[in-house]
């Protein structure tokens, strides 16, 4: 075939258009839905302690999610975002990283944060916006963040974390830190401009970043196939940006773990950004503010319940002789009791003092802001019954 030397392109003399069928990307699955390995498949390099830590974190997050949705229904917290059904994607990937690697999440990766060691008290303090919340009660529930655990604070705007992850990883590379950044987002967020900006820049700059797309089928009510995109999902976009790309079964924790391990090696050792698309399903609503029965059938949901990542992993752990079903049950009960206790404790803790309203806008509050706070305090003192959360504490504060 003739070659165009300037662009290094093969030359053809007959017009033909490519379509999506030119690139179809398969899905890595190691564990079958029945919890046994595919024939010829090998389990990844995963020791018993790590495997059990993953499983217990998955259990914990499921309990937390279920319990906090109930707490929202009871009016005890304002809002909640569940990761029900997607536990393997966030926890399996986080487990394959080093604790010094940065995690930049969207808002459905509480599993990754729990795996890192965020305590149940820390979760609850954030959810109840109380004065022990690391975020000082400023953001809606589930917008966690923790510098100690290298977990970047969650922000509501979608996909903004994607080019930020590229920038963060650039700094890691230049510092020769031997670490990488993992960046989570959904398939809906992958329609945002920031997705394309961030992936292209990562490929151009060759930075140690792993983009992990949780393709969970829905962006609030909008189904992925046909309404969010008509191509072959998100993975081909990684290839188009010149990036190593893999698609995995997001409900198979072994596939997720294995792919992320390999991706981390590419990122850290070769400064190769990687895109992982984890295929999963958002079993709960988008948040406590929507009702999935308005946009999908119970049959559809039931079909996905049978692909439960916890059950699948539990069967494998039992078959390995690393866990008994009784142990799984008793551990679940223990964690549930802890969650309930922490919930009760956190809801009695006061909101942060009013002075914190003006802190952290800048490194120090400017004069105009201090003046605005003084005016506000004078007003609260005048009408204390209208501002009960802060009025009673005003004069006890610093």
């Amino acid at each position: 075939m003739a070659k165009d030397t300037k662009h290094q392109l093969d030359i053809v003399s007959k017009a033909s258009f490519l379509d999506a069928s030119a690139l179809t990307i398969p899905m890595l699955q190691i564990l079958k839905e029945d919890g046994t390995l595919h024939k010829g498949a090998e389990a990844p390099d995963l020791d018993q302690a790590t495997a059990l830590k993953i499983f217990h974190t998955m259990q914990f997050i499921r309990i937390l999610d279920e319990r906090m949705i109930a707490a929202q229904r009871q009016g005890r917290i304002s809002f909640y975002l569940s990761s029900l059904g997607e536990e393997a994607a966030s926890i399996g990937s986080a487990a394959a990283l080093d604790s010094a690697d940065m995690i930049m999440g969207q808002y459905r990766e509480q599993g990754a944060l729990a795996y890192r060691g965020f305590t149940i008290e820390e979760f609850m303090n954030q959810l109840f916006s109380n004065e022990r919340d690391l975020g000082k009660g400023r953001q809606m529930p589930v917008h966690y963040g923790c510098a100690r655990l290298n977990f970047m604070t969650i922000a509501s705007p979608l996909a903004t974390q994607i080019p930020q992850a590229t920038g963060y990883a650039y700094g890691q590379k230049m510092d020769q830190s031997g670490t990488c950044t993992i960046c989570y987002f959904g398939e809906g967020a992958a329609s945002e401009g920031d997705f394309h900006a961030g992936l292209n820049m990562a490929a151009v700059f060759k930075v140690p970043v792993i983009f992990f797309c949780r393709n969970n089928g829905y962006a609030i009510s909008t189904p992925s196939q046909g309404e969010q995109y008509v191509g072959d999902g998100i993975a081909p976009r990684g290839v188009a940006y010149g990036m190593k790309t893999i698609r995995v079964d997001g409900n198979d924790v072994l596939a997720v773990y294995h792919a992320t391990q390999l991706a981390r090696k590419l990122a850290v050792e070769h400064n190769e950004p990687v895109l992982i698309e984890g295929m999963s399903y958002r079993l709960a609503g988008h948040s406590t503010s929507d009702d999935p029965s308005g946009y999908r059938s119970r049959d559809e949901e039931a079909g996905w319940r049978s692909k439960d990542p916890l059950e699948r992993f539990q069967k494998w752990l039992v078959s390995q002789g690393w866990l008994s079903n009784d142990e799984a049950v008793s551990h679940y009960a223990e964690q549930k009791a802890m969650v309930l206790e922490a919930l009760k404790a956190a809801e009695t803790i006061a909101v942060p003092p009013i002075d914190e309203l003006i802190e952290d806008v800048y490194d120090t509050p400017p004069a105009q802001l201090q003046q605005q706070l003084q005016q506000l305090k004078a007003h609260i003192r005048k009408y204390p019954e209208a501002y009960p959360k802060t009025a009673s504490r005003l004069d006890q504060e610093r």
């Binding site: 970047m152 604070t153 705007p157 080019p163 920038g167 292209n200 820049m201 800048y362 105009q368």
Partner: protein, 325 residues
């Protein structure tokens, strides 16, 4: 001291910052080996390598997203947006991310190392999309600092302050003056205070307040007015967020009159914020209404730029009208 134009002063500030700190990075569209369309980053790639001064793909939201991430990692990120007219794709990254990064995390994380450099303003036959002065959009966003230098000396000292300020800074460069403004600049490192207005010329009759490229217009108008026996106090606001209300209020309490000039359209411009705040602070001292001399409420024009532009004659007329009110 060395004679520098405004571009050279900016280039010199970047050079010093990059020499003294290994983790200062400069990037944007065409800012690499080429040195940027205005040449502000000229020579930096040759000196520091393409990993520290580099081209980005053509995507403003990506530049700011990347810069936010790099700054949150602890580096100093100096991002150039080629013209401030093109900053809007990055608006979300600036107002929802840069500005809120520290606050929303409870100070767990911050992007204090971020500086956004962008040329702004008209007078260069640039039409709608190479002439705008969009500072007021950003001044409505708590968490940002907005700095506008008027000459080479201010540009160098303020840019060094901006890069190392522990908060994200939008540094708006008056591109009309890039080569037109020349002055003596110290060769070594120095920093100027952000948030402190500079009294360019003391006077007793009327206060004329401007920032960035408008300061020299205000000075010219004051010169004209002095021929009529009017003694103007000309103040450069230096930064509009935070802004030095104390210096302005003290001046207006002395003179009793205030003219504010800005290149941007009248309605909802930063001059309006100043007028509102100063009348609160100085109500009983005012001898005449606070005057705003601004662009018209139109998109920035091309063939009628001269008529549209806030020049010294318009400011001079506003000074006289205020004096004879």
């Amino acid at each position: 001291m060395a004679k520098m134009n405004l571009l050279q002063a900016i280039n010199n500030a970047l050079d010093i910052a990059m020499t003294n700190h290994r983790n200062v990075y400069s990037f944007g569209e065409d800012t690499g080996a080429f040195g940027g369309v205005f040449r502000a980053t000229s020579g930096l790639t040759a000196k520091y390598g393409r990993e520290r001064n580099f081209n980005t793909p053509l995507v403003e939201q990506g530049i700011l997203g990347f810069a936010n991430g790099l700054a949150s990692q602890g580096s100093y990120a100096v991002a150039e947006i080629q013209f401030s007219d093109y900053i809007f794709p990055a608006f979300d990254q600036i107002v929802n991310e840069s500005a809120k990064f520290r606050y929303r995390s409870g100070n767990e994380f911050n992007v204090g190392g971020l500086t956004i450099r962008t040329p702004y303003g008209g007078g260069i036959a640039g039409g709608h999309y190479h002439s705008q002065s969009p500072e007021a959009y950003f001044a409505h966003t708590p968490g940002l600092k907005i700095v506008l230098p008027r000459n080479p000396y201010m540009a160098k000292g303020l840019l060094l302050s901006s890069i190392f300020d522990p908060n994200p800074v939008l540094f708006m460069e008056p591109k009309r003056l890039y080569r037109a403004s020349v002055g003596e600049v110290p060769e070594q490192e120095y920093r100027l205070e952000i948030g402190k207005a500079d009294i360019v010329k003391a006077g007793k009759d009327i206060t004329v307040l401007a920032w960035g490229a408008q300061v020299e217009i205000a000075e010219k108008a004051a010169e004209l007015a002095s021929q009529d026996g009017i003694d103007c106090e000309v103040i450069d606001l230096v930064s509009i967020l935070p802004w030095d209300i104390d210096t302005i209020a003290a001046s207006v309490q002395k003179t009793g009159r205030l003219v504010v000039t800005q290149e941007a359209p009248l309605t909802n411009g930063f001059a309006s914020e100043i007028a509102a705040s100063i009348q609160e602070r100085c109500f009983l001292y005012l001898e005449s209404p606070i005057a705003r001399v601004c662009g018209l409420d139109t998109p920035y024009p091309l063939c009628h730029e001269k008529e549209y532009f806030v020049d010294h004659l318009k400011v001079y007329e506003a000074i006289k009208a205020s004096m004879s009110y």
